[in-house]
Each structure stands twice: as structure tokens, then as C-alpha cells.
Symmetry: C3
Subunit: 156 residues, 3 copies
């Protein structure tokens, strides 16, 4: 556990460093409360087009694109508030993700997503509507679920 | 060829080192006979949930997930024996892959897969059933196929 | 901007170094005019099977595969002229991409693609035919589009 805690502290320092150069040097618009993985990919060809809202989470190896070389497009791609952008998902250039959305792992999002939706697949489709999430796209009962798993000894 | 052989020897050392820290430090359950790429991703948020069986192969950039932040889930994801988990595929948290299965490159597996199946796509679907494979998910005639290609001079 | 220009110069040096070792040491067939991202993945298990044509572009994290361990296959995978192989796409072993094609980001291409097509999805499907592109798969009006966006002040 000590080892894991030290690794977590190191990761926090590296994430802060990444946040600094992404926002200050590249001009990417990351809300101060948003969180992201070190391996999240923000398009640096048109960095000003990346927008991530309050209390959103951008998970491991996910990719937010803002340019399209084929069409010569440089556009704004927006993630709303309280979203969860899942592992290795791709947000195509120009896509807008509404508040409180969850993008499933591996999803390739080619169209705008209305607030409160879960999208999954390639191309991504809405698989659930009207979800109601807390910060970072977490379900209201997420903490409860984790505590239950712990109580049942399933996390040891 | 000398260069390639040296690279392969180096890779073997690095894979052994990765195996050591994944199993001993993180507690990931990798069968001693399973093989994996250096770039394979095993979820370290709940490392004890990762299980890879005897004589299975986890290919380049594939991802085995065991937690779901959105729902607060920390679960066990299992790969059976003699499976081949293809390049850049994703096994979603909690998924169970039966013995002797092949997960195609880029597949995103969201449901359990019965033994002896090939799955592909996002979301992954069963595209073949009842396959009969040897160790590491190899077809019985795989060596024969390779020898034939060599004999035909197609590998030079 | 100075910073970005210096980064671009550094990237050019690294790309040239990668081109050198891929073609001279591994024997990968990259046309001298083709361009690729540093993070593009060319299958080194059967490197001679990779072929990328004149004035084609292989984008960030895309993957060109030439072997299939399951079936013991080592085959030739070919990208034609003036193609754009999009971010994090996968070309499966043996696939042939015709001249002037665009492979969308995240696509997993499992079948040959006729010339002048756009393919997307997993498995990838043709979503447009008969496109007419310039070098690197760019639309004829791509420069014009970019200039218009600049004139409208949308790129600042």
C-alpha cells in the first residue's frame, strides 16, 4: 500500500505539471476542477479548440481531437460539466458532449451528445438517457456500491 | 537478423521484469505460462481483479479493465486458458472470456464470451463459434500455414 | 509560437530518424514522400509486409498489422497513394487500401477498400465513395476551408 500511495503522489505531481503546460503553453481550456489521466491525448495541432468543463474526468488514453487534415478543419470540441470520458475513447473534431454525460471505454463519438446520456460503440450510440450524475460523472450510488463491495470482502 | 534477435532478447528481459512487478507488487493474477506484450495494459486501480489463465496471450496495447469509476465498481475480469487477446482490444470490467477464445484486434468486449469463440467489433460480437485452438489461441494448422508461406517464398 | 515551431523542428528530426530505422533496419516499405506520426505503429513481426504509398499520411497512433499469430499468417498490408490513415485506426493483416482513400479515426479495417472511399467504424464500413483528393488525402478545398476559418477569426 505504501508503494501505491507513493505512486499516486508522484502521479499527482506529474498531472499538475501536464495541466500547467497544456493550459499555459498550449492554451488548452481545462477547467481547474477537471481531472485527466497522464495518458489522455489533447489535440495540440489546434489546442485552443479543446474545452473540458467543471468537474469532468478524462480517462486513460482517451483522445480529444480538434482538427481534420482531410477537410482543413480546425474546430472547437467541448466536454460539458460532470462528464466522464472513458478509457481510450475518441471525441471527433467539433463534437459537443452535454453536461453529465458518460462516454464508455473505447467509444468513438462522431456526433453531439445531449446532456445526461451514456454513449458507447464505434460509431458511438446513445445507450442510456436521463442519467443523473454527481461530479466526474459518478452515479449517486457509486460510493454506496463501493462500500458494499468492501463490506462483502470482494475488494481484498 | 542479429539486430532483431538482440531486440527480442531485450524484450524478454523487460517482459520478465514487468511480470515480476505486476504479480509481486500489484498482485495481478497472471498464470506463469501466460505471455503478454510490454504495452499490454492491466488495470492497476484494482489489480487483484485481473486474471489471465494458462497459456493465454495478451497482445500489444490490449487493455484489461477491472474498475468502473462511474458506478463505483471494482470487479474481477477473467481470461481463460489458451486465449488470444488481440492487439488494442479492451476487456470491460467484469467480463469473463472462456477457454480457447480469440478476441480480434480492436474489439471492445462488453459481455462474457463462451469458450471457443472469436469475437470482434465495438461492441464485440461472436463472429465464429466452436473453434479448437492450441496454446496461446493458435489454430491447429497455424504452424503449417507459416511453413507453407515460407516454402512459397512469401516471407522473404 | 516559437515554442511550437521548435517542437515541430524536433519532431521532424525524430520522424526522419524513425523513417531511417524502419526502412533500413526493419525493411518496411515506406515511400519517401509518405508522412507518418511518431506514434504510428508498423508491425515489426513481419516488417517487410508493410507498404505505404506515395504522398500518404499515417496519423497518430494508427496501426498497420501484417501478422496473425492465431492463424500463423504473415501477409502484405498495403496503403495506396494519397491516402489518409486516421488517428488510432487499425489496418488488419492483409488489407489493401486503394489510392485516395480516407480511413476515419478509430476505424478498424478488416476488408480491402476500393480507391476513393472513406471508411469508418469497427468493423469499418464505406461511408462515402468517389471522393477526389490531393496529396495526403486532403480534399481539394481543404486549404480554402482553413483560410476561411482564419479570415473569420475562428482560429485565434
Amino acid at each position: 500500500m505504501l508503494t501505491l500511495n507513493k505512486l499516486k503522489a508522484l502521479r499527482r505531481v506529474l498531472v499538475d505539471a501536464k495541466r500547467f503546460y497544456l493550459t499555459r503553453i498550449f492554451g488548452i481550456d481545462l477547467h481547474p476542477t477537471c481531472q485527466f489521466s497522464l495518458s489522455a491525448y489533447f489535440d495540440r495541432t489546434f489546442p485552443k479548440g479543446v474545452h473540458v468543463g467543471k468537474e469532468s474526468y478524462v480517462a486513460v488514453q482517451s483522445m480529444i481531437l480538434t482538427h481534420d487534415r482531410v477537410r482543413g478543419l480546425y474546430v472547437h470540441t467541448r466536454v460539458g460539466k460532470r462528464c466522464f470520458i472513458g478509457a481510450r475513447s475518441i471525441l471527433m473534431p467539433g463534437v459537443q458532449i452535454g453536461d453529465g454525460c458518460v462516454v464508455a471505454a473505447g467509444a468513438v463519438v462522431t456526433r453531439d451528445v445531449p446532456p445526461g446520456c451514456i454513449v458507447a460503440g464505434n460509431p458511438a450510440k446513445v445507450i442510456r438517457e436521463g442519467i443523473d450524475v454527481l461530479a466526474y460523472g459518478r452515479y449517486r450510488n457509486a460510493d454506496e456500491t463501493t462500500l458494499r463491495l468492501k463490506a462483502e470482502g470482494l475488494l481484498d
